[in-house]
C-alpha cells in the first residue's frame, strides 16, 4: 500500500523540555494538540460566560448547553450526590469531545487515538472511584462485589466474577475510546487511499471511478463526527456509572 494508514498516529518531537533519569521529556505534537484542546475549551467556556445575558447569545448558549448536558447526565445516573464530581466529568467530557473533534480535521493529530492517553484518563477515574468509595463507605464499599439476593452457594462463583469485572473496567473503558478513534481514522485513510490507488493504476478511468471511494470517505467523515461526540458521551456516562458505584455501593 502506498500510504501507510498507521503513519498518521506517529508522535514527533517538537522540542525537548529536559531529562529525567536519563529519559528525554519532549514536547510532542500530542502535547501540542492537548494544549490546543484545552485552549479551545477555555475560550468557549470563559468567552461564553464573560458577558452573561438573560437571553444567551451563540457562545453563551453553547457553554450553557454543554453544562446542562453534563449536569443532567450526572443527575440521571449518579443522583444529585454525584454533582460533587461535576468538575471531573465535565473536564473529561469536554477534553475528549474537543480532542476527538479536532482530530477529524485533515492532517490534525488525534490525541485520544493513543492508548496511553485514554488509559491515563481511565485509571484516573478508576482510582477516584476506589479511593472515594473506600473513604465514603469504608468496608461497606466491598458490598459492590456481593450482589444482594444471590443464594449463598453461588457466592463463590459470583464474587470472583464481580471482582474481575471491576478490575477490567479501566481496560474496557480506555480501549473502547482508543480503538474507536484508531479504527475510524484508519478506515478513513484506507478508503482515501483507494482513490489514489485507482487513479494511479487505471489512469483516467480510475480517477473517474475514484469518485465512489471519495463519496464513501465523505460519508465516513460524517460518521466519525458522530462517533467522536458519542465516544466522549460514552466515556463520561461510564464515568458517572462507576462513580455511582462508589457513591451507592451494593446492587
Amino acid at each position: 500500500m502506498a500510504a501507510d494508514p498507521i503513519h498518521q498516529f506517529q508522535i514527533t518531537k517538537l522540542f525537548t523540555l529536559g531529562h529525567i533519569g536519563g529519559q528525554e521529556i519532549a514536547f510532542t505534537n500530542s502535547s501540542a494538540y492537548m494544549f490546543l484542546a484545552v485552549a479551545v475549551i477555555s475560550v468557549l467556556m470563559i468567552g461564553g460566560t464573560a458577558r452573561r445575558q438573560l437571553v444567551p447569545g451563540r457562545a453563551q448558549s453553547m457553554a450553557e448547553l454543554s453544562y446542562e448536558f453534563v449536569a443532567s447526565m450526572i443527575k440521571s445516573t449518579a443522583g444529585s450526590e454525584g454533582m460533587k464530581f461535576f468538575p471531573l466529568v465535565f473536564s473529561l467530557f469536554m477534553f475528549i469531545a474537543v480532542s476527538n473533534l479536532v482530530g477529524i480535521i485533515p492532517f490534525a493529530f488525534t490525541v485520544s487515538s493513543h492508548l496511553i492517553v485514554t488509559v491515563t484518563l481511565a485509571l484516573l477515574v478508576f482510582f477516584i472511584v476506589l479511593v472515594y468509595g473506600l473513604y465514603k463507605n469504608g468496608l461497606r464499599f466491598f458490598k459492590l462485589f456481593v450482589p444482594s439476593g444471590v443464594p449463598v452457594f453461588v457466592m463463590p462463583i459470583v464474587v470472583p466474577i464481580e471482582v474481575i469485572s471491576f478490575l477490567l473496567k479501566p481496560i474496557s473503558h480506555s480501549v473502547r475510546l482508543f480503538a474507536n478513534m484508531l479504527a475510524g481514522h484508519i478506515a478513513l485513510k484506507v478508503f482515501a487511499g483507494f482513490v489514489a490507488m485507482l487513479g494511479v493504476s487505471l489512469g483516467a478511468i480510475g480517477w473517474i471511478g475514484g469518485v465512489l471511494p471519495l463519496a464513501l470517505t465523505v460519508a465516513l467523515t460524517a460518521l466519525e463526527l458522530l462517533v467522536a461526540f458519542l465516544q466522549a458521551y460514552v466515556f463520561a456516562i461510564l464515568t458517572c456509572i462507576y462513580l455511582n458505584d462508589a457513591i451507592h455501593p451494593g446492587h
Partner: protein, 75 residues
C-alpha cells in the same frame, strides 16, 4: 505456512467477531424502535440507555477490528 499469509488469514478470522457486534447493535436499535413505537412518550427517557448499550456492544466489534488492524499493520 508462510508467516505473512498466516498473518492475513488471522486478520480475516479476527473480523468474524464484528458480525456478532453487528447483530447485537441491530437487536438494540430494533428493540428500542419497537418499544418507542409502542410508547413514544417513554422513548425520550431511554435514549441514554440506548446510546450506552450501543457503545458497550459496538466496542466489542471494534476490539476485533483492532486485532485485525494490529495484525495487518502493526505486527
Amino acid at each position: 505456512m508462510d508467516p505473512v499469509a498466516a498473518k492475513y488469514i488471522g486478520a480475516g478470522i479476527a473480523c468474524i467477531g464484528m458480525g456478532g457486534a453487528g447483530a447485537g447493535v441491530g437487536i438494540i436499535f430494533g428493540n428500542y424502535l419497537a418499544a418507542a413505537v409502542r410508547n413514544p412518550s417513554a422513548a425520550q427517557g431511554q435514549f441514554g440507555n440506548l446510546i450506552f448499550g450501543f457503545a458497550v456492544t459496538e466496542a466489542l466489534g471494534i476490539f476485533s477490528l483492532l486485532i485485525a488492524l494490529l495484525l495487518l499493520f502493526a505486527l
